[in-house]
Structure formats: structure tokens, C-alpha cells
Symmetry: C2
Subunit: 208 residues, 2 copies
DNA sequence: TCTTCATTGGACTTCATAGTCCATTCCTAG
DNA sequence: CTAGGAATGGACTATGAAGTCCAATGAAGA
């Protein structure tokens, strides 16, 4: 979408469409979200939808994926760029759980899209995969900082630990969703995070 | 579906429909699976689909969910009913990973349906939730046996540990799918399983 | 053999939804 | 004030998929 010929008014309309679509997808999935319901929710018209997203529904969904990804990252700021102490991890964890549970999200915009979209739209799959990779990268850097500071076993591979944490988030949400309870997510996350504060539990941890 | 007035021939046709639908759903999702493609793949006719599944697509999908659930449980036999030793857990793990990865499943029939169907079909959600609950139950019983045998910390809550393991499976698959690699699933699973063979690592585990 | 009912074939209907098109309105620069 | 392009409204089309219906076939027992 060429953004050069767009006014402020148009920008806001476009954004309104993206956000409403995001909500509907989170609530009803891609298949359960139709251009008509989006149109109704945003008080727009069919022509506007295609004006701002010439690629139709597929492009709209991709834009939603990108935006949701950015929102998810923002929700983890500023800790996601620190994660150099157990306190930082705890605060990061707290913010993340809040992001999912409060305001009844009950699903990961990225993870659930990944499942739904793996098939049917390779371009969307790419957008999702990029978010996932970036996310894992940031977590791995945090784990690396912990390791460099001697706060976690030197034998731990940051990328592996990061993957385990991400898997805990995604899997925890899969189980939390039907229960409408946060505890599965929290249990999974705590378990995955355990290696990061082992120093307080393990045998004579000499570091630092 | 009343099964009383069904011949062997009919039973096999019905089963053929279920299995073909299951494959298509796993590959393309519920939305990407149409009665026409199922009809084509099974060499049946529209009337047969509705003859065996009067409730239409929704009923067919529910039957698929039930059948896939049973298949998944079978793949975990006989270990899922044992899990009283670390060796048993290892063999169970091996069989499960094989079930997902070999023959390119790359997704959990139950978990991925859970994500797709949470919305749109409460009845299906029930079928899925039942499978999940039963699964967690079996795992928790195994953890309980390990605890009773003093092979795992007495402080560990079997249900929590079981949930963490399930979350690792589901989340691991979410990450493995786009990568088309088994390692995220294996890493997540190993991490979740760690408490079950801790006795060989931890400080003088006194339990029992 | 005949009857009956499960099974099958496939055309047809209905409906939801993505996408097109053109007219109209709004805003702003010149 | 006016011309042009962005923004908007909404009817219309095309399509694909679910679901209906009736006729034909096959098999098994009376």
C-alpha cells in the first residue's frame, strides 16, 4: 500500500479498520471475520476497505498481523530489551500475562494466527514467522545477558531456553483459553522460566 | 447418529469420510476443508455425506475430532497408562514425537482444532475440551505414580506438572510447525519433563 | 423371486461473502 | 472559488460452498 497519497483522515480510518478487524479475528478467527462485519463495526463502506487494502481481505489480515505483532512487542517494553536480572524477567512476565489475560484476550494474536494461517496464505505465514523469530531473538539476548552475568548455567543455550519460554507461552494459552483461567499459562511460564532464577535454589551456585 | 441401521459397507464408507476429512483439516484447517473436496477425495456423493452425518459439516467435524482424539491416545499406548518410571516416560515421549513428526503431521489434531474451533462451535469445543481433560488426567496419574514412588519431589502437584507438559507439547508444535523441524517440540518437552528425572541431578533428593 | 431398506448419484437451490464499479461528497492547494 | 484528488456510499456481480431432493442401485431376508 502506497502511503504517500493518504491524508490524516484517511490514515485514521485505515487504522480503525485494522484495529476492529484485529478484535474480530481474535474473537472469531479469520474465517469468522467477514468484510461485512468489519464494515459494520467501523461504519465504513466496502469501497473503503478495498481503497485502503487493495489486496482485499488477505492484505487486511496481513496488516492486522503486523500491527498486532507490534502491539505485542510494545506490551513487553521496556523489559524485553533488558532482561538482565531476575527482577526484570519477573516484571516482563507480569506485563505479558497481563497483556493476555486482562481485557480478555485469551489468545496470542501471533500464535493463534500462526495456527490458522499456516495453511492458505504463505505471505501471512511469513509475517507471522518474522514476528516469532524476532521475539525469540529478544528473549535469547536476555538469556545471554543472564548467562554472561553468571546468573544462569553457562551450559544453557540461550536460543533453546528462549524457544522453551516461547513454547510455554503459546502452549499455556492453548490450555488457558478453554478454561478461561490464567493458571495454565502461568504454570507453563513459571516452569520455563525456572532455569533463570536457579541460582537461588541450586547447589552452591558460585557465580558473581 | 443412530448406528443401528448401518451395514458393514456403510460403516466403512462413513469411516473413509472421517479419515479423509481429518487429513484435509490437518492440512488446510476447518475452513479450508469443503464438503466438495471431501466428496472428491472419498469418491462419494453429497447425499452420502448428509446420510452419514445428518448434522452436516459441523457434525462431521465433531466426529473427526473424536476420532482423532482416540487415534492420538492410541499412539501413546501402552506407556500413557504406565508412566511409573523415567524409562516409561522416555518411551512415551518418543512415541508421541514420532506420532507428530513422522508422517508429517506437524500439528496436534486436538490442539489445533482447539484453536480453530474455540469460536463458532460450542459443541466441538466440548469434544476438544473433553479430550484435553482426559489427557491431562492420564498424565497427572503418571506424575502421581512417580511421586508415590519417590521419584519426583513430593512438593510437585501432579496436575500442575501434567498441565506444564501438555502446554509444552502444544506450544512446541506451534513453534515446530513453521520451522518444519522437531527441535522446538523436543526442547519444550524435555524442559517440561525435567522434574521427572530430577532425582539423577538434584542435591541428595531425600523423598520416599 | 420379490420386497424393502440402506446406499449411492448428482442436479438443484440457497445463501453468505469477496470483490467490482460508479456516483457523490469532502478537503485542500492554487 | 474552484479544480482535482482523496475519501466515502452503496448497489451490483461473481463465486463457492452448504444443504436439499428425488431417483436409481445394491444387497439381504422372506
Amino acid at each position: 500500500m502506497d502511503e504517500s497519497k493518504i491524508t490524516e483522515r484517511g490514515r485514521r480510518t485505515r487504522q480503525r479498520i485494522i484495529e476492529a478487524t484485529g478484535e474480530q479475528i481474535l474473537a472469531s478467527g479469520i474465517g469468522g471475520t467477514t468484510l461485512d462485519t468489519v464494515r459494520a463495526a467501523t461504519l465504513t463502506s466496502k469501497s473503503q476497505l478495498f481503497h485502503y487494502f487493495p489486496g482485499g481481505k488477505a492484505e487486511l489480515v496481513r496488516e492486522v498481523a503486523g500491527w498486532e505483532g507490534r502491539q505485542l512487542f510494545e506490551a513487553q517494553e521496556p523489559f524485553i530489551h533488558d532482561l538482565a536480572s531476575w527482577e526484570s524477567w519477573e516484571q516482563w512476565r507480569s506485563g505479558l500475562v497481563d497483556y493476555y489475560i486482562s481485557r480478555g484476550r485469551w489468545a496470542c494474536p501471533i500464535g493463534s494466527l500462526a495456527t490458522q494461517a499456516a495453511m492458505s496464505d504463505p505471505e501471512l505465514e511469513q509475517v507471522i514467522a518474522d514476528s516469532m523469530r524476532a521475539w525469540r531473538e529478544l528473549l535469547a539476548e536476555g538469556v545471554g545477558r543472564m548467562r554472561d552475568a553468571g546468573l544462569v548455567a553457562a551450559s544453557a543455550d540461550p536460543m533453546t531456553v528462549a524457544t522453551v519460554i516461547l513454547a510455554a507461552i503459546q502452549g499455556g494459552l492453548v490450555l488457558s483459553q478453554p478454561e478461561r483461567a490464567a493458571w495454565p499459562l502461568e504454570a507453563a511460564l513459571d516452569s520455563a522460566l525456572a532455569p533463570l532464577h536457579a541460582e537461588s535454589l541450586r547447589e552452591g551456585a558460585t557465580p558473581a
